[in-house]
């Protein structure tokens, strides 16, 4: 992109590596500076499956109980608000991704459009944001695994079984990724396919039931028992359910025909999960009423399934919950590793972090930087806090992606030639940025403090370690 050679180095004396440039539009390769070809191997289905697979764990299998407790049936509106914000960000992210189809996603666009300080802050805090998200998915997985044990009648006594299972699985996923899992992506496609099947059957039956087709009476309830504010603060909480569409952009370098597939995968996966989330809340609150639903906690949806389908229904949804949370956790570990790579390639973190192990061919340092901190956070076990901090850090990035689009469009560099252009971009990106930052205001104080502290620490690290680094291709 930029032709000038970067001169600045970080404290270890490293300067940014040249990136691979994509060949003409619609092609299946990128080419490095030395002329080696990089095969793009993820198609549209793979891209959607990354997006849906990352997102679907939380919205359906964790939040219905929590959200209904805070906003009543209006939690469905909270999920809809989340979807609108996610779409407002997904469109600008799609345009930037088609203009710069490179691994790194949001970090890359922000660092190129807004400079290396915002880039470094976003790059480092999105690494940690993904770590928080992964921990959140793993703790949720633990809840489902514990519920399954209870269902099977295995006594768990007073053991901290949720945390133990979450830790164990966190270790297992990290190890699997370290030592190479062939066809992991294909497996992910099947898992997502199976999940969608279970959910469509469940929601289809539940939806018909809620509308009174099967003759059972559902209790009518005040739509917004806790007021309008609760709808927005719940939207802030459940926004974690939409962290994932931008993960598609972190694999942009591996996606075939990025000009077409990236926007379709990002916007498509948001639409798919949004419909499922809103339907889930509708069905769940119709079945039980939000008060009882809230009492069931994180595995509330299992009780809903039991009400419709007896023990078989409960078991199917438990299985779905296990699959969904594992798939979300795994996709997030992979995204974390890619986020670390993108930042360390630009010498904002030590370049040691992007080493690849020749024997296994895996980025062992970056994967450890994903899996290690996750295990620490899993030990904390605070689901809502983990979810909100993850959302905080992602929302900052989403807001800045919108700002990056405004900056790019105002001052379009010669190489800027996106295949997809956002219509009415000022409006979309402007509202997207305001909504992203605005949602942060509705979070718990504790989450805001932790999120802000992480960003400050990231800025401090940049000033200390990489102040002189000049990135290639910055506006």
């Amino acid at each position: 992109m930029g032709t000038e050679r970067p001169e600045g180095t970080n404290r270890a004396g490293e300067s940014p590596e040249a990136g691979a440039l994509p060949t003409e539009a619609g092609s299946d390769t990128s080419v490095t500076e030395e002329g080696s070809e990089l095969e793009r191997s993820i198609g549209l289905v793979g891209g959607v499956s990354i997006g849906v697979g990352t997102m679907i764990g939380a919205g359906i299998f964790v939040f219905p109980g929590l959200a209904a407790g805070e906003a009543g049936p209006a939690a469905a509106a909270s999920f809809a608000i989340g979807a609108v914000i996610a779409l407002l960000v997904a469109l600008p992210a799609s345009e930037l991704a088609t203009a710069m189809p490179k691994s790194g996603g949001g970090y890359y666009y922000i660092s190129r459009a807004l400079g290396s300080l915002p880039g470094a802050v976003v790059g480092i805090s999105i690494w940690l944001g993904l770590v928080f998200a992964t921990a959140f998915y793993l703790v949720s997985f633990g809840s489902y695994a514990a519920a399954l044990l209870a269902e099977a009648g295995i006594p768990i006594g007073g053991l901290p079984v949720v945390d133990t299972l979450a830790l164990g699985f966190g270790l297992l996923l990290t190890a699997l990724n370290l030592f190479g899992t062939e066809n992991a992506a294909k497996l992910q496609n099947y898992v997502v396919g199976l999940l969608l099947t279970i959910l469509v059957i469940f929601l289809g039956y539940g939806g018909l039931d809620a509308l009174g087709v099967f003759g059972t009476t559902s209790t009518p309830e005040t739509f917004m028992p806790f007021g309008l504010m609760s709808v927005f603060s719940t939207a802030a909480l459940v926004f974690t359910s939409y962290l994932g569409f931008a993960q598609v952009a972190t694999v942009a370098g591996d996606i075939k025909d990025p000009g077409r597939n990236l926007p379709l995968a990002m916007v498509g996966s948001v639409l798919i999960v949004a419909v499922l989330y809103v339907a889930t809340i509708f069905v769940a609150t119709s079945a039980f009423g939000s008060g009882r639903l809230s009492g069931f906690g994180e595995t509330a949806i299992v009780e809903v399934a039991r009400a419709f389908g007896g023990d078989v229904g409960a078991l199917a949804i438990l299985l779905g919950g296990l699959l969904a949370t594992v798939s979300s956790a795994n996709a997030s570990i992979l995204s974390t590793s890619r986020a670390v790579f993108a930042v360390s390639k630009d010498a904002l973190l030590p370049q040691f972090a992007s080493r690849v192990n020749l024997q296994y061919g895996t980025p062992h340092v970056a994967l450890s930087m994903a899996g290690g901190p996750v295990l620490v956070l899993v030990g904390l076990g605070e689901v809502e806090l983990l979810a909100e901090v993850a959302s905080f850090l992602h929302l900052v990035m989403y807001g800045l992606i919108c700002v990056a689009l405004l900056a790019m469009r105002r001052d379009e560099p010669e190489w800027y030639d996106p295949e997809f252009r956002v219509p009415a971009y000022r409006l979309v990106a402007g509202v997207g940025a305001l909504a992203s930052f605005g949602l942060i205001a509705f979070m718990e104080r504790e989450s805001q403090v932790i999120g802000a502290a992480i960003m400050l620490a990231a800025a401090g690290w940049y000033k200390y370690y990489a102040d002189d680094v000049q990135l290639r291709g910055v506006l």
Partner: protein, 251 residues
């Protein structure tokens, strides 16, 4: 190459050989896994145009760009070493290096981009004398004849056209006859071409079982089918089981 042997260019210029178009062989090598191309195979392939593809397969969790940053120089050095061996045989070769998650997709793409006549599936081989061409389905006879005639032109050795009849509608005897005629048209001496026909249930197993009798196997892709999608292409299954390298003539 000793003094009295003709160079590939001289062979091509000889009037008795009427090659329709010079064949191009794609040689994929998994360079960072220490794969190479043996000296005898280099010598055998040298009359054709050669495209050397050094590739490295990565697990899906590793971005190809990340691996290329670290391994690109090593891969380029390794592929240049192999290219040097071809250049010593008097042949210019095109080299390419690719990082991929999917070996077959990369090989197919490069084969299509370079319009290769055939793709090599490497296996160890000694001096090449006897080439076998198992014919068990539709095959591009023109491409096959260009390839075989070019490779055998400047050397000793025979080619066995082996029709394999698996009991379907495919007329193996007619296909073998057509291939024999086309080879003769290309100028390959008829006494160097043998033909035979076998009836069998499994073409792949028959070829693998007899692969020890020959030095190089030349066969067609075989196209898609139920068996192919379950077990891989017939040619790939032959290459896995056989003791000889396989040249797959592209459709």
């Amino acid at each position: 190459m000793s003094e009295n042997e003709p160079t590939p260019a001289e062979i091509m210029a000889e009037a008795s050989f009427a090659i329709r178009e010079p064949p191009k062989v794609l040689v994929p090598v998994e360079v960072l896994e220490g794969e190479s191309v043996s000296a005898s195979l280099v010598e055998f392939l040298a009359p054709a145009e050669v495209v050397l593809l050094g590739y490295h397969v990565l697990p899906e969790q590793t971005p190809t760009e990340q691996a290329s940053m670290q391994f690109e120089d090593r891969a380029r050095t390794a592929i240049d070493d192999i290219a040097a061996a071809f250049r010593e045989e008097g042949r210019e070769v095109e080299t390419r290096v690719a990082f991929t998650h999917d070996r077959d997709a990369t090989v197919d793409r490069v084969a299509a981009e370079t319009d290769a006549t055939a793709v090599l599936l490497p296996n160890p081989v000694g001096a090449v004398e006897d080439v076998v061409v198992p014919i068990r389905g539709a095959i591009d006879v023109d491409r096959l004849a260009d390839l075989v005639a070019t490779l055998l032109a400047g050397r000793e050795g025979s080619v066995t056209l082996w029709g394999i009849d698996t009991g379907g509608e495919f007329d193996a005897a007619a296909a073998v006859e057509r291939a024999r005629e086309t080879l003769a048209e290309r100028g390959l001496a008829t006494d160097r071409v043998r033909t035979e026909i076998t009836e069998t249930d499994s073409a792949v197993r028959a070829v693998v079982d007899r692969s020890g009798e020959f030095d190089v196997i030349v066969m067609g892709e075989g196209g898609p089918g139920l068996l192919s999608s379950l077990f891989g292409d017939p040619a790939e299954r032959v290459a896995e089981g056989a003791v000889a390298p396989v040249l797959v003539v592209r459709d």
